[in-house]
C-alpha cells in the first residue's frame, strides 16, 4: 500500500529532488521522522491512509513506536493526552465527525498542557453527510487551545508536522497542535515532497523532555478540579499567553528549519503583495486557486495579491495588519460557514484591522468551497471583481456565497426529483 513514488527526473532528463507523496503519506512520514513513541488511532475517511501507513511501518518494524486502535476518537484523544502526560511523544490523526466526537477531550488535552500533535484531514460535517472538505471541522476546534497550522501543499503537511512538535513541546508553549490538510485535494493527491533527512530532523527536534510527567518517584496530579472562577481564569489566561507566545516560537523554529532544510515558513505568506491594492485572504489547499486568480487579474492589469493564513491559532494579527494595511480592499475567503453569522475567519481579519488607520476601505466576506465544492477560475476572479466594484462604490457591500448558475440549475433538478417531480 505504499503511496510513495520516486521522482528520478522531471521528464526532461533533469534530476528532481523528492518523492511523489500524498498528503496523508507526507503526514505519516513526518510522524516517523519525528520519532513519535505512541500513536492511538481510529479510522475515518479521508484520514485512514495515515494510520494504515503507520500501522504498516510499526508492524514491519520500520517505525519504533506503539500503535493502538481505540474504539472511538473520544477515547483516542483521551489516550493521546494521557500518554503525553506520561512523557511519550504522541501523534494521531482524524477528520470531520471524528474531530467533533473527540471535541470534549481537545479542551482537556490542551488544559493538561499535553503537547501532542493531531493531524486533521478536513472534511465537511454532516448533515448532509459528504466526504469532501471544508473547514468547519478544524475551526470547531478554534477555541480549544490547540495551536493550528494549515497546509496548502503536501510538502507543507510534512514540514508543519515537524514544526508543530517543536512549537508544542517548547517550554514557553506546552500546548497541543493541529496540523490541517484538506481531504482529497491533499490527502489523496500525490505531489512532489522533499522529506527532510533523519539526521537533520534529529537535530531540529531533540527527544521530548516532559517537565512534570507522571512518575512513581515524583507523583503529580493532572486535570484536578478547581473550585473557584479566579483560579480557573488564571489557568485559562496562562494558556492564552502560551498560545500567543507560540507565534514567536514558531518563527524561531522556522528559522532553524530553513537553515537545515531550505524551506522558509512564516505564520502568514504573501503572494504578489508588493504593489497589490486588492488582496484575497485564504488558507489551505484552495489557496493555489487564489494564486491563479491573482495571476489572471495581474494579466488584466489589476494589482491583485494574496495573503495566506498558515497559522490560524494563535491568530497572526500583527502579520495580517502588516500585510493588509494600505491596501484598497481585501476579501476574506472562508471555506466554512457559521449559519447566521457567515464565514468564521472574516470577523477575525476584520477585527485585526479595526484600529489600523490606513486599513482597507473594504473588507469583503466570501464563503465558498463548502463540502469541497469546486471553484472555477471565473469564480475566483469574481471575488476580485466584486472587491473592485464595492470599493469604487458601484455596488453595496454584501457577503458573497459562491455558487455557479449551472450548479444551481443542477441542484434545482435534484430538488425537483427528490420531491417526486420529473
Amino acid at each position: 500500500m505504499p503511496t510513495e513514488g520516486d521522482l528520478a527526473d522531471d521528464g526532461g532528463g533533469h534530476a528532481v529532488k523528492g518523492k511523489l507523496l500524498t498528503g496523508n503519506a507526507a503526514a505519516a512520514s513526518a510522524a516517523r521522522l519525528a520519532r513519535v513513541d505512541y500513536i492511538p488511532a481510529y479510522p475515518i475517511t479521508p484520514q485512514t491512509e495515515i494510520i494504515e501507513t503507520i500501522a504498516d511501518w510499526v508492524r514491519e518494524g520500520t517505525m519504533d513506536a506503539k500503535f493502538v486502535q481505540l474504539e472511538s476518537e473520544h477515547s483516542m484523544m483521551t489516550a493521546a493526552g494521557t500518554a503525553s502526560l506520561a512523557g511519550a511523544r504522541v501523534f494521531t490523526a482524524t477528520s470531520s465527525q471524528g474531530l467533533l466526537y473527540a471535541m470534549e477531550m481537545l479542551y482537556n488535552v490542551s488544559g493538561w498542557r499535553a503537547p501532542m500533535v493531531l493531524v486533521n484531514v478536513s472534511r465537511a460535517l454532516a448533515a448532509p453527510i459528504v466526504l469532501e472538505p471544508d473547514h468547519n471541522d478544524v475551526l470547531a476546534a478554534r477555541d480549544s487551545g490547540f495551536i493550528q497550522l494549515h497546509s496548502e501543499t503536501c510538502q507543507e503537511v510534512a514540514d508543519m508536522v515537524l514544526l508543530a512538535y517543536r512549537v508544542a513541546e517548547d517550554s514557553r508553549v506546552m500546548l497541543p497542535a493541529i496540523v490541517n490538510l484538506d481531504g482529497f485535494y491533499l490527502s489523496f493527491t500525490r505531489e512532489r515532497v522533499v522529506l527532510p533527512d533523519q539526521k537533520g530532523v534529529d537535530s531540529f527536534l531533540p527527544p521530548y523532555q516532559p517537565p512534570h510527567p507522571l512518575r512513581a518517584s515524583q507523583p503529580v496530579a493532572k486535570g484536578t478540579a478547581v473550585m473557584e472562577g479566579f483560579v480557573y481564569s488564571y489557568f485559562k489566561y496562562n494558556m492564552h499567553a502560551a498560545a500567543v507566545r507560540a507565534k514567536k516560537v514558531f518563527s524561531e523554529a522556522a528559522r532553524d528549519y530553513k537553515e537545515l532544510f531550505g524551506r522558509d515558513y512564516g505564520p502568514v505568506e504573501g503572494y504578489r503583495l508588493d504593489d497589490a491594492e486588492y488582496v484575497i485572504v485564504m488558507s489551505n489547499s484552495f489557496t493555489t486557486l487564489g494564486r491563479q486568480a491573482v495571476n489572471r487579474m495581474r494579466e488584466r492589469g489589476v494589482p491583485a495579491g494574496l495573503l495566506k493564513l498558515r497559522m490560524v491559532r494563535p491568530f497572526p494579527t500583527e502579520e495580517v495588519v502588516a500585510l493588509l494595511k494600505g491596501r484598497k480592499a481585501a476579501a476574506v475567503f472562508d471555506q466554512n460557514l457559521s449559519p447566521g453569522s457567515g464565514g468564521i475567519l472574516f470577523p477575525e481579519v476584520a477585527a485585526s484591522m479595526y484600529h489600523v488607520r490606513d486599513r482597507p476601505q473594504t473588507i469583503l466576506p466570501v464563503v465558498g468551497g463548502l463540502g469541497g465544492k469546486q471553484l472555477t477560475s471565473d469564480e475566483m476572479t469574481s471575488i476580485f471583481e466584486e472587491m473592485i466594484a464595492v470599493n469604487s462604490g458601484s455596488k453595496p457591500l454584501a457577503p458573497m456565497f459562491l455558487m455557479r448558475s449551472e450548479e444551481m440549475a443542477k441542484v434545482k433538478r435534484a430538488v425537483a426529483l427528490a420531491e417526486g417531480g420529473s
Partner: protein, 322 residues
C-alpha cells in the same frame, strides 16, 4: 494465579496510607474509603485515572490527598486514559527512556454512572484490547455528584431525583440494577470481583489476587453514600454489612470466567432490614408499606441465591417472600 495471601485478619491491613487525612468527600463516604483500602494493597506506585464523579472533587487544586499520581480525564473515557498511561509507560521503558523502577499500576476509579453507563464504550474497548489495568468502581447506585439521579446501577424500588416516587409512579425506579459483573465476565475479563468495605479481609485478598493477573480487572465496591441514600454517616459500614447479610450485595469473584462466592451466608436477613434504614427506600414503608414491592425485591434476592447455590453447590436459607 497465586492462592497464598498475606491477609488473614483485619490486623493484616497494611499500615501505610497513601491517602492523607482530610478531603472534600462527605463524612461516611464509602467511595473514598474504598480508594484508601485499595491503595494500601497496591502500594505506592500507582497512576489513578478518574472519570467525572464525586471522587473528582477530592483532588481539588492546589491540594490532593493522594501520595500517588492522578489524572482526571472526562466522564466517558477513563479506561482510554488508562490505555494511554499504560502504553506510554510500556513504550518508554521498552525504548530505554524510563527506568523500570518508574513503572506503575494503572487504576481507573469511577462511580457507577461512568462504569455502567457513559463510560461503557471506553470500558468495552479496554477489555477487548486486554489492557492491563484495574478498574475500581465505587458503586453508590446513582449519580451522586450531580445530586443523586438514577443510573443503570440504581436498584428497583429506589427513589432518585429523576425517579421520584409519586402517586402515579409510587415505586420510584422501576428498572432492575444492571449486572456489570456479568457483563465484564462475559467479555472475557480474567478477574472480576465485588467488594464491600465492611468485609475488609475479603477486600484485601481480592485486590491482592487480582494483582497476580495481567489484563483487565474489575472491582465493584458497594459504596455506602449517606448523602444520597439518606442515613446517618456513622452507619455506613453497618449498612454495607447489612447489604451483605441480606444477600442484596453478594461477595464474589470470577477468575477466568469461573464464578465463586467468597462469602456464603448460612441464612439471609430479610431485605426489609436493609431497605428500611434508608431514606431512598422510605416510600416503600411510609405512609403504607408497599408489601408487593418489598416482596418483589426479596424474591429476586432469593432467586439469585438459589441459582448461585445450585451452580456452586451450596444452599442458603432465605427469608419468606410469599
Amino acid at each position: 494465579m497465586s492462592t497464598a495471601t498475606r491477609f488473614r485478619t483485619l490486623k493484616d491491613m497494611p499500615k501505610e496510607d497513601y491517602l492523607s487525612a482530610g478531603n472534600t468527600m462527605c463524612a461516611g463516604c464509602g467511595g473514598i474509603l474504598a480508594v484508601r483500602i485499595f491503595h494500601k494493597v497496591l502500594g505506592p506506585n500507582v497512576a489513578w485515572v478518574n472519570a467525572a464523579g464525586c471522587m473528582t472533587i477530592a483532588m481539588s487544586y492546589p491540594l490532593s490527598p493522594l501520595k500517588s499520581n492522578w489524572i482526571y480525564t472526562a466522564f466517558a473515557s477513563a479506561p482510554a486514559g488508562a490505555q494511554g498511561v499504560r502504553d506510554a509507560l510500556d513504550v518508554l521503558v521498552a525504548k530505554g527512556k524510563l527506568p523500570v523502577s518508574e513503572d506503575m499500576k494503572v487504576v481507573v476509579v469511577t462511580g457507577d454512572g461512568a462504569a455502567y453507563g457513559i463510560g461503557f464504550q471506553s470500558t468495552a474497548g479496554a477489555i477487548d484490547r486486554h489492557l492491563d489495568f484495574y478498574y475500581l468502581c465505587y458503586d453508590n447506585e446513582a449519580y451522586g455528584n450531580t445530586g443523586f439521579q438514577m443510573s443503570s446501577s440504581t436498584p428497583y424500588g429506589s427513589a432518585s431525583k429523576t425517579t421520584p416516587p409519586t402517586a402515579a409512579n409510587p415505586i420510584g425506579n422501576t428498572h432492575k440494577k444492571m449486572d456489570l459483573f456479568e457483563v465484564w465476565r462475559a467479555q472475557g475479563a480474567p478477574y472480576v470481583a465485588t467488594l464491600s468495605n465492611s468485609h475488609g479481609v475479603d477486600f484485601l485478598k481480592k485486590v491482592e489476587k487480582g494483582g497476580t493477573v495481567k489484563g483487565p480487572k474489575l472491582y465493584i465496591d458497594f459504596a455506602a453514600c449517606p448523602t444520597g441514600w439518606g442515613y446517618d454517616p456513622k452507619d455506613s459500614i453497618e449498612l454495607e454489612k447489612l447489604a451483605v447479610q441480606t444477600g442484596v450485595w453478594p461477595l464474589k469473584e470470577a477468575v477466568d470466567g469461573v464464578v465463586k462466592h467468597t462469602l456464603v451466608p448460612r441464612s439471609l436477613l430479610p431485605v426489609k432490614e436493609y431497605l428500611k434504614r434508608q431514606e431512598r427506600f422510605s416510600h416503600l414503608f411510609e405512609p403504607a408499606e408497599m408489601t408487593d414491592v418489598i416482596r418483589t425485591i426479596q424474591s429476586s434476592v432469593n432467586a439469585y441465591w438459589a441459582e448461585a447455590g445450585a451452580r456452586e453447590g451450596f444452599s442458603v436459607k432465605v427469608p419468606d417472600s410469599a
